[in-house]
């Protein structure tokens, strides 16, 4: 059997040789610390509590030749544009297999509003900013997060200037081209919102071809005082995709952050979304919707960590699991001793459409402060037969009745989307999904 831990360690040794300019910098130090942490902890095994229901290490070992490296895609402009969904004017970035497609990308907002650079360049051009963020916030106890820090050289750095509200949203198309073989890569996005700035970022994840891929993604997002960020992720890759996404957000005083995570496809998708509220009067929302079928497995692990008083967090995750698909939801809320007057709410609701679909859901609240309002709830059930019957007695077909009820179920999440064209796109995606 292939020792995949060894494979990753060797990969790092190779990678380190090519670092050149970065050698000895704080970025290199962060990589070294991360790979050491990975070496000590190894990949999560079957007994690892955090990966109890998501056997990613085993699947990786069985599924992929991890010795491979990602290739540079030969997809033409026409082929790439097929991934486009209709949207209003936006700053658009394309990445294929992690490589930035500068010729296709279009930036409308002026540089005075924001800077956007591929990560490799940013390591040099924005060394100061990057050094303060890279590897400083991500939870490296997660082996995949540690690996990403060690091995990443792709992704994007977005810096929104202090006091600026972006006139257009940023849309990032992440395309994995599997037409020439397995693809493995480690993209890393770093987002810095300056004080009192506002931005909306939309990432879509799609696949070209039917091949296998492993995408170990990570993000570090800093939302400074009074800033406001909306972050959308739409995961609709192919059936063979293995994806881990570690995203860490840090919020400062009076800031607002909205996260939306949509999952429609993938062999095994694991999202670790974690928010640290390091200051007072922060507001955070996490909305999630997973609508999967076949043999897809989708796992959302979320953390909200309240460190200071008077913050508010709200989380709504909803899932529809069809055929043999499986799901996991784990929502942690920490309210530290200092974090008095915290309001924290969490809800996870699931509908299982078949007897073979399943979900493991677990809320985890740990509260050290004594003056807080927290609530959580989770439900798992089938489609309501009485509602189905009612609609059918009005002449509506079983399939349509099902679609009507599931769309209504998803609406709790969709109604919070603040960008009209995104809501429309998701409504379309959902109704085409529900037709089958």
């Amino acid at each position: 059997m292939v020792d995949i831990k060894e494979t990753f360690l060797n990969k790092y040794i190779e990678f380190e040789k090519g670092l050149n300019g970065q050698t000895g910098t704080p970025i290199h130090d962060a990589r070294k610390a991360a790979i050491q942490q990975f070496e000590q902890a190894g990949l999560p095994g079957p007994k690892n509590e955090e990966y109890k229901y998501t056997h990613l290490s085993r699947t990786l070992r069985k599924d992929l030749d991890l010795g491979l490296d990602s290739f540079s895609s030969k997809l033409s402009e026409n082929e790439i544009e097929k991934f486009h969904f209709p949207h209003d004017e936006a700053n658009v970035l394309y990445f294929v297999n992690g490589f930035f497609k500068s010729d296709l990308s279009k930036i409308l907002s002026p540089e005075s509003e924001f800077k956007v650079t591929e990560l490799g360049t940013a390591f040099e051009d924005y060394q100061q900013d990057i050094q303060e963020i890279f590897g400083k916030h991500l939870n490296h106890q997660d082996a995949f997060a540690a690996l990403n820090t060690a091995l990443t050289n792709q992704g994007v750095f977005i810096k929104v200037e202090k006091g600026k509200a972006l006139s257009h949203p940023i849309i990032i198309y992440n395309i994995t081209d599997t037409s020439e073989g397995n693809v493995i890569y480690y993209p890393r996005n770093i987002v810095l919102l300056g004080e009192n700035s506002h931005a909306r970022i939309v990432e879509t994840f799609q696949t070209f071809g039917k091949g296998k891929s492993f995408i170990n993604q990570a993000g570090e997002i800093i939302v400074k005082q009074s800033a406001n960020l909306e972050y959308y992720k739409i995961q609709e890759e192919n059936k063979e995709t293995l994806r881990v996404d570690n995203t860490q957000i840090v919020q400062y005083r009076d800031s607002v952050f909205n996260a939306f995570t949509f999952t429609f496809e993938g062999k095994m998708i694991r999202n670790n979304l974690s928010i640290r509220l390091v200051d007072e009067h922060c507001e955070s929302h996490m909305f999630g919707l997973y609508l999967v079928k076949g043999n897809s497995h989708v796992d959302n692990h979320t953390v909200v960590d309240h460190l200071k008083p008077d913050s508010f967090s709200n989380e709504i995750y909803k899932g529809v699991l069809d055929e043999n698909s499986t799901g996991v939801f784990n929502g942690k809320i920490y309210v530290r001793q200092d974090a008095q007057k915290t309001n924290a709410f969490q809800s996870n609701k699931n509908i299982l459409l078949t007897e073979t679909a399943s979900i493991n859901t677990k809320p985890q609240l740990e509260i050290w402060a004594n003056d807080v309002k927290c609530s959580h709830g989770c439900t798992t059930g089938q489609l309501d037969e009485e509602q189905m019957f009612y609609l059918q007695t009005r002449g509506i077909s079983k399939e349509s009745a099902r679609a009507i009820l599931l769309t209504a179920f998803a609406e709790d999440v969709l109604e919070n989307i603040k960008i009209d064209f995104i809501r429309k796109h998701l409504h379309n995606t959902i109704s085409s999904r529900l037709k089958h």
Binding site: D384, E386, Q387, F389, Y390, L391, Q392, T393, R394, G395, I396, S397, K398, S400, A401, I404, L405, T407, A408, F409, E411, D412
Partner: protein, 252 residues
């Protein structure tokens, strides 16, 4: 229009309908009365196609076709309508929205072209007046937070929109105050024609002061044990159901 012959139905192992015979012709209103647990709502549910019941014997013919072979939505498209005793709440689905889907699927089934948004709105506006339905209720989630009277009115409103050939009103009067009762009855009467028919399922005679039935049937222990005209309903109201039970008991 509707011919029920020797119909038997059970739920789990409990036999509820035990040999129902009933014929309804176009233009008629039939009232089905009976004490609690006699099988009234079961009959309504079986006719609408609820899957919980197993038909063990008998047949139902609706407009010349075998009703029991049809899925609930096909029955509706053929012209059958059930006003629910307990209308369900569906959060996130507005009445206007699902009715448009319903009406257009019915029209498609009948080979008619779908109504566009404008024609549909005009159609429902006309019907809203019929049951004094408030527009704002129709734009809210179906029945969510509606009062009992509003839910029942919504049922009759839907009936008006879908224009069924045979409507079954299952305990539509229960829990209604007199004003709501009049509105509901008025709606039903206005929809009446020589082409369609109505079955009113009720425990009490009260509704029948406003919807005058041509026939009254008493259901007891899963059978129609007595049929008559509207005077039977008055007699039941005055004397209660015990004399029926005794009469049936003495025959058995």
């Amino acid at each position: 229009m509707l011919k029920v012959k020797d119909l038997y139905a059970k739920i789990e192992d409990k036999e509820i309908l035990r040999g129902i015979n009933l014929e309804v012709k176009a233009g008629e209103i039939h009232a089905i009365m009976g004490p609690n647990g006699s099988g009234k709502s079961t009959l309504a549910s079986v006719l609408a196609g609820r899957e919980d019941y197993e038909i063990t014997k008998g047949s139902v013919e609706f407009l010349g076709s075998d009703l029991l072979e049809m899925a609930p939505e096909v029955r509706a498209r053929e012209g059958l309508f059930l006003a629910f005793q307990y209308p369900v709440e569906i959060p996130g689905v507005t009445t206007t929205n699902f009715l448009k889907t319903a009406l257009n699927q019915i029209r498609e089934y009948r080979g008619e072209s779908p109504l566009d948004a404008v024609s549909f709105l005009k159609h429902i506006k006309d019907k809203m007046n019929l049951v004094e339905m408030n527009q704002s209720l129709l734009n809210r989630s179906l029945n969510e937070g509606f009062s009992g009277g509003e839910k029942k009115r919504n049922e009759i409103f839907q009936m008006a929109v879908l224009e069924p050939t045979l409507a079954i009103l299952d305990e539509t009067d229960s829990g209604l105050d007199i004003d709501a009762l009049k509105i509901v009855a008025n709606g039903v009467n206005k929809l009446r024609s020589s082409e369609n028919a109505t079955i009113v399922v009720t425990h009490y005679q009260r509704l029948l002061d406003y919807i005058i039935p041509d026939y009254v049937h008493v259901l007891y222990n899963g059978r129609i044990v007595k049929s008559g005209d509207k005077t039977l309903a008055v007699e039941l109201e005055n004397k209660g159901y015990d004399w029926i039970k005794e009469e049936v008991g003495s025959i058995a």
